[in-house]
């Protein structure tokens, strides 16, 4: 029987050869992956998250897919009918299922392979793989080795997109444990403004493993609202990196919502390369069953006068585990950095757990950085107050948990997406918890 490395190797060798530039990148990363292997739990960054176990000998990696436009219709988020839509199936960009509703002069969506060989090649050359400066691990390299199924998005100078870009990732698990490697590269030109939403779906409800890398580069005066929504069910494993680079003074805002999964690992990086940059990072993980959700964030302040604000909240029921690790780097030149970080957890389940670790590395001497974390139970006094007014225990708990989650949900900029997320959270709070 083949082990997972052999399956990956076979899949790597069997895939269509991309054009020159991208093929070289893939080859180089395959070599890197062969050397690095999958991260073990002795690796400090993967201490709580045993990723090796999810790479089993039953992985299915091929281009077979069975996702019809009708099936896709059932997944579309209400109120986003006008949205620019990008569809990935099994980690590969599907041009035929995707549509661009903003004007072609404003927004360009094409395969990464095409971008690596046309006028966008210089951007791809510099930015593809930029996240590896922060994640030199086998997981990131493995995704890169399969990068030829990726997508490239460019929002042109001065353009405010009329519609959000909604990316639907569909993993087809009907044929076995599906292993996908979606890759997304985003080029936000000067003063471009966009909402970028990612949502994940498991067709078939079987085991899946999605290993994603998103790299975004935002120029001066750009405004980005990014949302990642995970609610694919209990058999989904996910490792993902969203790497956002500010090359000019701009505003980037990210909200990560995790509602289910077997093992979920999200890396979110904000790289502040210009003075007066501003970033916001919000996260909500609402977990039950045996789900493990691990959010690792990095804010890297390289230049002075940057501002970052971070709030992650977790609710853990049953035997679920929430992990938060927030790194803030303040480099030598990054004077007057303002960085805030907060992580709050509520444990509902008897066997639920939370691990939280702020990590600040500050080399400048004139900065304001604060961090705080809490792990607790629902406030008994608040519960009693609600019950003393005749509100049942279940409703009182749901009300308090909803209030707790609200700070994060209301950060979602796009109305339809926010409503969608609120509905998913309400349904969960009123049923399972």
């Amino acid at each position: 029987m083949m082990d997972s490395t052999q399956i990956l190797k076979e899949a790597f060798e069997k895939q269509d050869v991309a054009n020159g530039n991208l093929a070289a990148f893939q080859q180089e990363n395959w070599k890197a992956f062969s050397g690095l292997g999958l991260p073990a739990i002795k690796h400090e960054e993967w201490k709580y998250t045993g990723i090796r176990n999810v790479f089993s000998d039953r992985l299915v990696i091929n281009n077979e897919m069975n996702i019809s436009p009708d099936l896709l219709k059932t997944l579309l988020i209400a109120g986003t009918e006008e949205a620019n839509r990008i569809v990935f199936v099994n980690g590969r960009f599907q041009q035929s299922l995707s549509i661009t509703t903003d004007h072609a002069n404003d927004l360009c969506i094409k395969s990464l392979e095409a971008a690596a060989g046309d006028e966008d090649a210089p951007f791809v050359e510099v930015n593809l793989g930029h996240s590896q400066r922060y994640h030199r691990d086998g997981i990131n390299a493995l995704n890169a080795a399969f990068a030829n199924g990726g997508v490239y998005i460019r929002i042109n100078k001065g353009v405010t997109l009329k519609n959000p870009i909604v990316i639907y990732h569909i993993a087809d698990s009907t044929l076995g444990k599906r292993c996908s490697h979606p890759r997304i590269l985003v080029n936000m030109k000067e003063a471009a403004q966009a909402e970028l939403v990612e949502t994940f779906h498991n067709h078939g409800g079987g085991e899946t493993l999605t290993n994603e890398v998103v790299e975004i580069c935002a120029e001066k005066d750009a405004v980005l609202h990014y949302v990642k929504m995970q609610n694919e069910g209990e058999k989904t494993n996910h490792t993902g990196t969203t790497h956002i680079r500010q090359t000019g003074k701009c505003l980037t805002h990210a909200v990560t919502i995790t509602l289910s999964g077997a093992l979920v690992r999200n890396n979110l990086n904000m790289v502040m390369e210009a003075e007066h940059g501003e970033c916001h990072m919000y996260g909500l993980y609402l977990l039950n069953g045996n789900t493990l959700a691990d959010n690792h964030t990095i804010v890297d302040n390289a230049m002075p006068h940057c501002f970052s604000n971070e709030l992650y909240k977790g609710i853990m029921d049953d035997a679920s585990t929430g992990v938060f690790n927030g790194k803030i780097f303040v480099r030598k030149d990054a004077q007057k950095t303002n960085a805030y970080q907060s992580n709050k957890n509520i444990l509902i389940g008897e066997n639920a757990a939370a691990n939280t670790k702020p990590q600040l590395e500050i080399l400048a001497d004139d900065v304001k950085c604060s961090h705080g974390c809490t792990i607790g139970k629902l406030d008994e006094d608040a519960l009693f107050y609600l019950r003393a007014r005749g509100i049942s225990m279940e409703n009182a708990r749901a009300m308090l948990l909803h209030a707790f989650a609200k700070d994060v949900l209301e950060q979602i900029n796009n109305g339809a997406i926010r409503k969608y997320a609120e509905q998913l959270v309400s349904d969960r709070l009123s049923s399972s918890i």
Partner: protein, 253 residues
């Protein structure tokens, strides 16, 4: 309506209520007074069903039911209301939604149709006037950032919305200036009728100038040691609690 019979309760290992007897009939206002630490707030909390306290003896009958067997929410739905001494601030829960849930859960329990949005709004407007509470307060998170007076007024507003049979006011006068006190008392006086009853727990006689009780009881060391009319409250105001303490300590010795 409420029959308390030799009620005993403790928190952790400490006995606080050592045999309370009290009988409240519809239309009556009872005041419970007493020095700090006598067990006044414990009595209010035990009646409302706070689980920090363990009832170790006695019984409480409310509207013919065994009150101590009911969950806090069912006590509320049966018509018991506790106006908290320290109303809890709950960020993220809108005051209006909270009251709407409370009103409709109670109606459901009583087999009534839930109020629709228009009916609820109408009732709310009417009751808001009663306790002189502002709309802007009700669109905020529950008690969050409210002043002491605003919190107490919000308690009385909730009482007005829920129309309890028995309302327990736990030191509602503490921390109130004279204007707020008047507004709160005015609300209570307008809500009283021949079918409902009030149990006013207070340290000072001041509130009783505005809410005139039919009976006054003095709680000391976990027992009701004196009962009388509003004159008893006046006497306490003049002489302080020391004279009763001295008398009772002598009786107990």
């Amino acid at each position: 309506m409420l029959k308390i019979n030799h009620l005993q309760a403790r928190i952790e290992e400490k006995e606080i209520l050592k045999g309370i007897n009290l009988d409240i009939k519809p239309g009556e206002i009872h005041a419970i007074m007493g020095p700090n630490g006598s067990g006044k707030s414990t009595l209010a909390s035990v009646l409302a069903g706070r689980s920090d306290y363990e009832v170790t003896g006695g019984s409480v009958e409310f509207m013919g039911k065994d009150l101590l067997e009911l969950s806090p929410e069912d006590r509320a739905k049966e018509g018991l209301f506790l106006a908290f001494q320290y109303p809890v601030e709950i960020p993220g829960v809108s005051t209006t939604n909270f009251i709407k849930s409370a009103v409709n859960e109670k109606r459901k329990y009583l087999g009534q149709e839930p109020l629709d949005a228009a009916q609820f709004l109408r009732t709310m407007k009417e009751k808001m006037k009663l306790v002189e509470i502002d709309q802007s307060l009700l669109s905020r998170s529950l008690n969050e950032g409210f002043s002491g007076g605003e919190k107490k007024r919000n308690e009385i507003f909730q009482m007005a919305m829920l129309e309890p049979k028995l309302a327990i006011l736990d030191e509602t006068d503490s921390g109130l200036d004279i204007d707020a006190l008047r507004i709160v008392a005015n609300g209570v006086n307008q809500l009283r009728n021949k079918d409902n009853a009030f149990l006013v727990v207070t340290h000072y006689q001041r509130l009783l100038d505005y809410i005139v009780p039919d009976f006054v009881h003095v709680l000391y060391k976990g027992r009701i040691v004196r009962s009388g009319t509003k004159e008893l409250a006046k006497e306490l105001e003049e002489k302080g609690y020391d004279f009763i303490k001295a008398e009772v300590d002598q009786e107990l010795a």
